[in-house]
């Protein structure tokens, strides 16, 4: 589904990604872990098409297409979803209105008729149940005055609405208490299927107790320096990142 080869990228004059290689198949969950500043969020941003980052080398194949050549909105319409680490506030625009606009633009892209108000509401009600979110939150201006947990839950709700093929969760666990973490993870797990894939970007292992990954990759200085199964995350939790750093510098 997603094949990343030798991806290098910079922001301003600083190179952050130094040759990433990654292969994600449908149905898989990949966790990207690593210390602060290792390039985790940069990878997520580059995949979503953020303009501030400049790709220096490498290629990304997504479902047989050149992902890097696609505009951000095209990537989204083709099923790439990014759950933001810091969801943005848009005053005066309700989540419902925002999602209606998004869903209908994506439908238009697929050559489908826009959803009428009744069908949209029906779909929305279903997804609300799935991620345990209250309608009063969705009537409010997008992310404005939301608590950290509400923002993240709202991201997962949007993910449910848009049914992405490839979901990238950027530090979705940051700022969550244990209850919110459970609700958000449950939502993600319910959305997992053999047809879609999830990339979980996280600093801590804690989230991976809830969203169990098939593969764990450790990112350090813009490169994947170690890959393994879910037990790698536990090892990192127990030993910290220093031993990886040592291993890399020895090599």
């Amino acid at each position: 589904m997603l094949t990343i080869k030798n991806l290098q990228a910079k922001i301003d004059d600083k190179q952050i990604l130094n040759g990433i290689n990654l292969n994600v198949k449908p149905g898989e969950v990949h966790a990207i872990m690593g210390p602060n500043g290792s390039g985790k969020s940069t990878l997520a941003s580059v995949l979503a098409g953020r303009e501030e980052y400049e790709v220096l080398a490498g290629e990304v194949d997504y479902l047989g297409k050149d992902l890097l050549a696609m505009a951000p909105e095209e990537r989204a319409r083709e099923g790439v979803f990014l759950a933001f680490q810091y969801p943005v506030e848009i005053p005066g625009v309700s989540t419902i209105n925002f999602m209606k606009t998004a869903v209908n633009q994506i439908r238009q892209h697929r050559g489908q008729q826009p959803l009428d108000a009744v069908s949209f509401l029906q779909v929305m009600k279903e997804k609300m149940k799935l991620v345990e979110i209250d309608q009063s939150l969705l009537n409010r201006a997008l992310n404005e005055g939301f608590s950290g947990g509400e923002k993240k839950r709202n991201e997962i709700f949007q993910m449910a609405m848009l049914e992405p093929k490839l979901a990238i969760l950027d530090e979705t666990d940051s700022g969550l208490d244990i209850d919110a973490l459970r609700i958000v993870s449950n939502g993600v797990n319910k959305l997992r299927s053999k047809n879609n894939a999830v990339i979980v970007v996280t600093h801590y292992q804690r989230l991976l107790n809830y969203i169990v990954p098939d593969y764990v990759h450790v990112l350090y200085k813009g490169k994947i320096v170690k890959s393994g199964g879910k037990e790698l995350a536990l090892e990192l939790e127990a030993k910290g990142y220093d031993w990886i750093k040592d291993e890399v510098s020895v090599a």
Partner: protein
């Protein structure tokens, strides 16, 4: 060129939608302004002697006045002798009903989405259509007449209801009020008049649609709304003009007179031609709008969506004379490219327990300059007066300007005044968030701007709110990048 820049290029080169002209024969006065021209206009309109005197008095006063220099706008000096002050579509007979109106004129308004054929219109709106200097048609007159409501062109009102015109014209905006109001009083050619009798709630929206068509012509219309005790009316004004290289002058006067417990809601969607991207051409929109809450418990509410004009100079105001009267001002002013706007309101509290509310949302893009200018004046005997003002500015890009000039004068210590102001920018982050959800950049800007202006747009009558939303998006297309 990046893809975004291409999109930007495409969008900013998109042209003003209403920039076409209609080929109709017109009858015009010669260029220039003097007492003979005023006599010409007055005789064309078959006016009584007192009105001619009123015009001449205004003209003589105007010649002694100076054009105001305090607004935060710049433009080359206007040559008032180079303007045509009267231009009317030539019609063989005076139309008594719609069948007599030149089909070309009906087509003109149909092209603008304004159907003058009553059965085709939304049943909730009656229209007075004004082209250049004269009113061409007023719809639903009979139906409104059954309720005692008078809704007609200003010229017709002078003939049929001279006592009302004599009593109320100039009672809110005197001829000496300001330079452009004096000019208008001297040369006004038509406009709308509306009277709502005691206790009547007007069952439909009343609306005036102004269209400038002829070249080199100024438009000087007057609107007078008189709401008798306990009555209610909602009034809407719209306007467009062809694209022309020269600047055209529009100096209108709107007066609202509200008696005891009367309520008047006045909404404007202003879309005069703004000039091209380099600032060539466009309308100079110098307008005086004022409402007098004369009676106790009366209420006047202004809502404006300002997207057009090269220069806007406009302060819809309320004089809160009656005790417990209420004044409101809701405004969205958008400027793009080289447009300049200096707009706001005045709330003059005279009566006891008077309340006013100001919500102003400025949006500047391109190289435009957008100023809010507002005055809240609490007079000595205005016990327990209240005012709340909210002035927000939204900037798009880094070449535009937003300015706020709030003036507050308080002469009574029981007054309570709140003023809030914010300035923000449409963030790259907000745009990217939308893009990432599959929403294209154009729709993203529209979504964000409409969210920002929501509190004001919510004040508009339903069908016009939709039109205003589209207009906002259209005005700002391509301004992010």
């Amino acid at each position: 060129m990046s893809k975004d820049n291409q999109v930007l290029e495409e969008l900013t080169s998109r042209e003003y939608e209403h920039g076409w002209t209609t080929n109709i024969e017109t009858e015009s006065a010669p260029k220039g302004l003097n007492e003979d021209i005023i006599r010409f206009i007055s005789s064309k309109k078959n006016e009584p002697e007192w009105l001619l005197e009123w015009r001449l008095k205004a003209y003589r006063h105007w010649t002694k006045m100076k054009e105001p220099k305090w607004p935060n706008v710049t433009y080359p000096p206007i040559n008032y002798q180079d303007v045509i002050y009267y231009s009317a579509p030539k019609q063989k007979v005076t139309p008594k009903n719609l069948e007599d109106v030149d089909p070309e004129l009906i087509k003109t308004f149909e092209k603008l989405g304004i159907s003058l054929t009553e059965q085709k219109r939304l049943t909730g709106v009656a229209v007075d259509a004004v082209i250049d200097s004269v009113s061409v048609a007023t719809t639903f007159k009979e139906k409104l007449g059954e309720l005692g409501i008078i809704f007609c062109s200003f010229g017709e009102a002078v003939q049929k209801h001279p006592e009302l015109i004599k009593k109320y014209m100039g009672s809110v905006v005197p001829i000496t009020d300001n330079y452009f109001a004096a000019l208008n009083s001297a040369v006004f050619t038509d406009g709308s008049f509306c009277y709502i009798p005691k206790g009547v709630r007007c069952p439909m929206e009343l609306s005036t649609y102004f269209r400038i068509n002829a070249a080199n012509t100024g438009q000087f219309e007057r609107t007078l709304i008189v709401a008798d005790e306990g009555s209610y009316v909602s009034y809407l004004e719209g306007c467009t003009a062809p694209m022309r290289d020269e600047n055209q002058l529009h100096a209108a006067v709107v007066e609202i007179y509200a008696m005891k417990d009367a309520q008047v809601k006045y909404s404007t969607v202003q879309n005069w031609y703004p000039g091209d991207k380099e600032g060539k051409g466009g309308i100079y929109n110098f307008v005086t709008k004022r409402g007098l809450c004369a009676g106790d418990g009366s209420k006047i509410s202004w809502t404006q969506v300002e997207t057009g004009s090269a220069i806007t100079w406009k302060y819809p105001s309320c004089i809160l004379k009656g005790d417990n009267s209420v004044g409101e001002f809701y405004s969205v002013a958008v400027t793009n490219n080289m447009q300049q706007a200096d707009t706001g309101t005045k709330m003059i509290h005279i009566g006891k327990n008077t309340k006013s509310r100001i919500v102003s949302k400025g949006i500047s893009a391109g190289k435009s300059q957008n100023s809010y200018r507002g005055q809240v004046h609490i007079m000595k005997r205005a016990e327990n007066a209240r005012n709340f003002s909210q002035c927000d500015s939204l900037l798009m890009g880094d070449k535009c300007g937003a300015h706020t000039f709030p003036y507050i004068d308080v002469e009574n210590s029981s007054a309570r005044i709140e003023h809030e102001a914010t300035t923000s920018k449409i963030g790259e982050d907000q745009i990217f968030y939308c893009l990432q959800r599959g929403i294209d950049e154009e729709s993203a800007v529209a979504l964000i701007v409409n969210g920002y202006a929501k509190e004001v747009l919510n004040q508009l009558p339903m069908e016009f709110a939709v039109e205003a939303q589209k207009l906002l998006a259209l005005t700002l297309e391509g301004s992010v990048g």
